[in-house]
Point group: none
Chain length 215, copies 4
Amino acid sequence: MSPSPQNERGAENGDKGAALRSRLVGAAEQLIQERPLVSITARDIARAADVSGGVLYNYFASKNDLLAAALARRHSLLAARIDEILPPPGAATIEENLTAFCRGVLKMHREMLPLATELHTDPDLFRKFIGAIHREPFGPRQVRRPIVSYLREEQQLGRIDPDADAGAVATLLLGSTFMLAMHSQMGAGKPGAGQSLPAIVRTLIRGLAPQTGQT
Amino acid sequence: MSPSPQNERGAENGDKGAALRSRLVGAAEQLIQERPLVSITARDIARAADVSGGVLYNYFASKNDLLAAALARRHSLLAARIDEILPPPGAATIEENLTAFCRGVLKMHREMLPLATELHTDPDLFRKFIGAIHREPFGPRQVRRPIVSYLREEQQLGRIDPDADAGAVATLLLGSTFMLAMHSQMGAGKPGAGQSLPAIVRTLIRGLAPQTGQT
Amino acid sequence: MSPSPQNERGAENGDKGAALRSRLVGAAEQLIQERPLVSITARDIARAADVSGGVLYNYFASKNDLLAAALARRHSLLAARIDEILPPPGAATIEENLTAFCRGVLKMHREMLPLATELHTDPDLFRKFIGAIHREPFGPRQVRRPIVSYLREEQQLGRIDPDADAGAVATLLLGSTFMLAMHSQMGAGKPGAGQSLPAIVRTLIRGLAPQTGQT
Amino acid sequence: MSPSPQNERGAENGDKGAALRSRLVGAAEQLIQERPLVSITARDIARAADVSGGVLYNYFASKNDLLAAALARRHSLLAARIDEILPPPGAATIEENLTAFCRGVLKMHREMLPLATELHTDPDLFRKFIGAIHREPFGPRQVRRPIVSYLREEQQLGRIDPDADAGAVATLLLGSTFMLAMHSQMGAGKPGAGQSLPAIVRTLIRGLAPQTGQT
DNA sequence: AATGAATGAGTCTTCATTCAT
DNA sequence: TATGAATGAAGACTCATTCAT
């Protein structure tokens, strides 16, 4: 009947209810950042939100629904960073821009990684997360679209080959950055995954074709 | 010195013992492919191996040790495919070769993905997996090294810019392929992630630099 | 400050909660009297308290914590009897008093015996018991102190040699009684350990020194 | 059919068999000294005896039967010490003799204590131990009898009141010593239970009766 | 609407004992 | 007779979920 909560049993008093709901999500989000998802119990969340054990079920159909909401929120927050990271088209050099950008993405990915992997452990949770993400303001392409836009603008400025496939470039950059994030996650205290970034960007810019008729 | 079990208890039998041990690993491997790791109980594995509940503990110190062994085995099997996938240097064109290669890697990554992510759920399991993998024939760089070698050979043949950073190229290829795998995993029934591969490879080969003074 | 549960989880209910907690302890206490400690499972206790399997862990951190509480309660109850047993100083004869007293202690020891011995099986349980006992009204010297006091008073009344070491007397009496309790425990259906008590008391009173210059 | 092993399934080859049987008992005995009885598994014993897991059941009907045999052997060994401890009647003074004796018993009791308590945890084991002990050379009174004999001899020598009840004295001495052993066991690092021994002995010798007409 | 005690199914793991070789 | 792998019955403990107040 009420507008906001749709397929969850929601707080019918539109205000205090929504606040509590949000507090639960916030508490869950916090916990997710701090420890392995699997170690988080329904009671932990309630305690972190400073409410009693059962409330959860007044706002969410199950623990996983709450978790999915929290993961979606966290995902959105992280994904939103992409805008702060992107350099303004036209300024500096392409290489500098992309390197700086990748550095930012690397950090973002490092935080997204646990989120992404933990999601895969529980199909039910995953499904609910996907559902939640699609109801979020922007959805999953939040990360991909801005970088594609940037590349297109640079192409129009003539600083990037207009025949290059911007989507492919985005995949190459985001993918390699994600992989670096994974490696840095695995090799605990290793030197630093960021060091390979400049070489990656430079390689992508120059391409693999042998430079014909040059030194 | 002996190839038999070393620091796990049990199976002095050298034959029937090793066989059962292997059967357990096989059963676990099978289950891992079929369902979420977290849903697999110790008893499930025993049942799948058609033995009684406790046997597991005659061959492994814990359920996680068995799981780690199974994951390691599965990882090795998957990683070994890389050799079949790699085209012979010098033949066909670089673009064809890399596209075909990436197509193979994509398939491999699709199968590795659950494995990789599920590993991240349980730190203990992860540690044990790393331990197990290091005792395996080749270890973790099984995937990366062959492609780097291939690229170097092509550089020597003059078909790839000798100044290109082979390691960076590998990261770009493997990373973007991995990302495609993730996306295809998420968008369950979607068309096919493989379709973007040719564009990706072509883009990487050509680079981003505007083609100066050319048609 | 509050009398309610302190460092165990659960039972904020202050009333119904404490009641169940107490019921659990009571049930455990009962079982402890009836059968070997080791044979008592967590579920047995729950069943005896007529609650479901998991409740135990809402009130105690572990089965052993509950057991320790029950043992402590039982110990306190038994030890408290000592006061009812002790005769009033000055009345009757020393011999009668001590004999009657020892008879009471013998019974007490018989009931304490299993408790004492079973405690020694499990270091963890033992530690927890000691912890619990120290939080009890009187603590472990509940048994020893009253008898020492009694002896001192009789010394002041001149009915016991003022040079006798009251502590030593207590040890002699309690020790020999304890040993009788052990023997009676071992020789299941034997005649009765109580029969040697009068001789023991008389012997202690008279001492071993040959009676010089007397009939 | 064969003479020696009676109600256990015994080794029928009268020599190697008996040796192995004895080795098992020895191994168990050793383990009993080293760690809590409950922590000792059937396999532990087999391993300690350097034989395979199943042999045990060729010589004993159950793990507990083996354990009972080991406990009985250990008990006998400890109890046999009493003879070395007892001073020769007539020498030194009664007080010195009894104090020295009690000191020895205290040590013996300290070693017997775990044995005694652990026995009480398992009725089945206890029963079997009692059975085993009765088949041993001397049986359970091994400890009590020598001290009673000593006391009687001193009585005949006139150094102890001939009217004193030697049995009662034995109970008083052994009981209080046993209690000291228990206390020293409980109060882990405490000063030393042996210090109260002289007072105890002196008190027993002098008795409680007020010294009439004396200093 | 909030509470939080109660529920009970489900997990891993241990270990005495058996039995085919 | 010795072996030691296999068995399977328990046991302690966790935790999402329900529901009377």
